[in-house]
């Protein structure tokens, strides 16, 4: 079984790299987009199983990026998890209303991030972290 694919949409290169290392250590394949404009093309190209989406993105913000993804019938079903530096009930409520599967606040605890990803990928999740991998 191939590894599950995750598209990381995040404009901060350090945060992006940190996520990549953590996710790859847990046997996910990762791809990137750094702004709103490149999100849909990246999703079309890599057909990820899940998208991690920052809200403070250049080019109109994460909500815009989510709207674009949801507007493409081929991509609309991909679960989106928001990982945001912006917090607050209103932002959270809007994200979930717009179709995000979960809303995580930065900095996200590693275990929590992995748990939410596993949950969002559903029971067909086949990736088994190697024993002892954090």
């Amino acid at each position: 079984m191939p590894n599950k694919k995750i598209l990381i949409v995040e404009d901060d290169p350090d945060v992006r790299l940190g996520m990549q290392i953590r996710l790859e250590a847990n046997h996910y394949e990762t791809f990137f987009a750094g702004d709103v404009e490149s999100t849909v093309p990246a999703a079309q190209k890599h057909t990820p199983d899940l998208i991690l989406l920052d809200l403070g993105l250049p080019g109109g913000g994460g909500f815009k990026a989510m709207e674009n993804v949801k507007a493409d019938p081929a991509l609309a079903a991909i679960p989106i998890i928001i990982v945001s530096g912006r917090t607050g009930q209103e932002t959270r409520a809007r994200a979930l209303k717009d179709g995000a599967k979960a809303f995580l606040e930065k900095p996200v605890d590693n275990q929590e991030l992995l748990a939410v990803i596993r949950q969002a990928l559903g029971p067909n999740e086949t990736t088994h972290p190697k024993p002892g991998a954090p």
Binding site: G56, G85, T87, K101, A120
Partner: protein, 526 residues
Amino acid sequence: MTEKPLRVLLVEDSAGDARLLREMFRSEGPGSFVLTHVERMSEALRHLAVGGLDIVLLDMGLPDGHGLDTVRRALAAAPGVPVIVLTGLDDEALAAQAMKEGAQDYLIKGQIENRALPRALRHAIERYRMQAETDFLRKQQLQLKDEFLSHVSHELRSPLTAIYQFVSIVLDGLAGEVNPKQHEYLQNALKNSRQLKSMIDDLLEVTHAEGAKLRIDPQLTSIPDLIVETVTTLQETATAKEIKLSWDAAPSVTSAYADPTRVRQILIILMDNALKFTPKNGTVKVQSRVSEEDSGFVLVEVIDSGCGILPDMTERIFERLYQAPDTGLAGRRGLGLGLHICKELVLRQGGKIWVTSEPGHGSTFSFTLPIFSLVKLIAPTFMVEQPEHDSMALVVIELGSQSGWLSRDAQMESFQQVRDVLGRCMHSELDVLLPKMGTPAATEFFFIVAATDEIGGEAITKRARQRLSRYGQGQPGLTYTVSYRVMRPTNRIPNESVEDYTERMAITIQEMVDEEGSRKVTTIAQ
């Protein structure tokens, strides 16, 4: 004088007093005052509604208005217009009260000197203007500061995320083997990044609290459960500091009507503080019982054997940005926001918070929360004496998700939205949508209690189905069923008091709610 004439509304029903005052205005000469005189509160309110007044001279004993009530009504009718009250000699206490309510000044009838009146009016207006300006500036500054804090807190999160990520990556051995010394030092870095995160959270919390954006979702909340949970969370910290952390909850204390997330937050802040200010070999104890002062409240105490608080500090300690003076204890001082947040959270849930302390021997932080009472919640429905209140309808709404709930967040959000939808389905203002009374499960029950009969129950059910169907269109996978039951006869026993009747109804509702909740949950969850 080149000043514009002052437009004065005189509200005075005594012809003699009115004449005297009119004389005083007249002696000021034309052009300095435009006086409108009315004798009734109702007329005064009409004039105030129209506007164009600079000040109101208000007698507090009118045929259609008495005492402080007249002041409140006048201020409410024209919030931008200062009010001076006119009182008799023996009413000075009342006049002082009026000023607390927002009157600018008071004049004692029979003691007003000719020349003093215009001066008093001009001063009152000037004072009022300055006060309004100060208030406005203060509000503006507070808002700017909140926006600034909020912005800064959010911007700090990205670099903090990167620090946390890379420290944990190295620590977890993802970048090669780590020797024990490195491991220890990286643990320190990680611990500090967590502290920084909680400081940022506090900053945000405070700006939200004061912007009234804080959401409190009161429900049936087990206080003993939360105490055990939070004590367990902090046990490790206590052990590391060699402090004995224990708890004790009276069995009589069951549940409060409060937001569990917020209560957890309060407990963590108080225990964290207690641990911080208690030296090695000390004790921290958390206990709860029904309040001796008011049996409608649960009292929670966090007792430490720490350094204590000076008596004159016990109030100030809950102020924003308060910092404990040097206690001689090692450790970081933090932002000084924790107790302020606690106070906001307790107050917003209808409780009180205070501290008693003996310097050198320790402190006891106490707070109260209202005890969950179905009787209190449904009281509005049964307080009105109407014949149709002999029957009662319980509308039961069961909500589930075909695909299962993907996250606790999404689940809670859906529940909240459905509560909002249901809130608009009720029959009258007297109907009650009961708060959450169970732990989150695959399906969630909502209950509406209405003092009505079959027709009313049917109407609410129909409306709930319609609205939920509309809401469900945007929520794929959402399932719901709506049904209702009418309790009849639940006739009042002869001579039964409303209180007793309400209590009996509460027991009946509790039974029905328990029965619904224990039904086998059949909704498929993945």
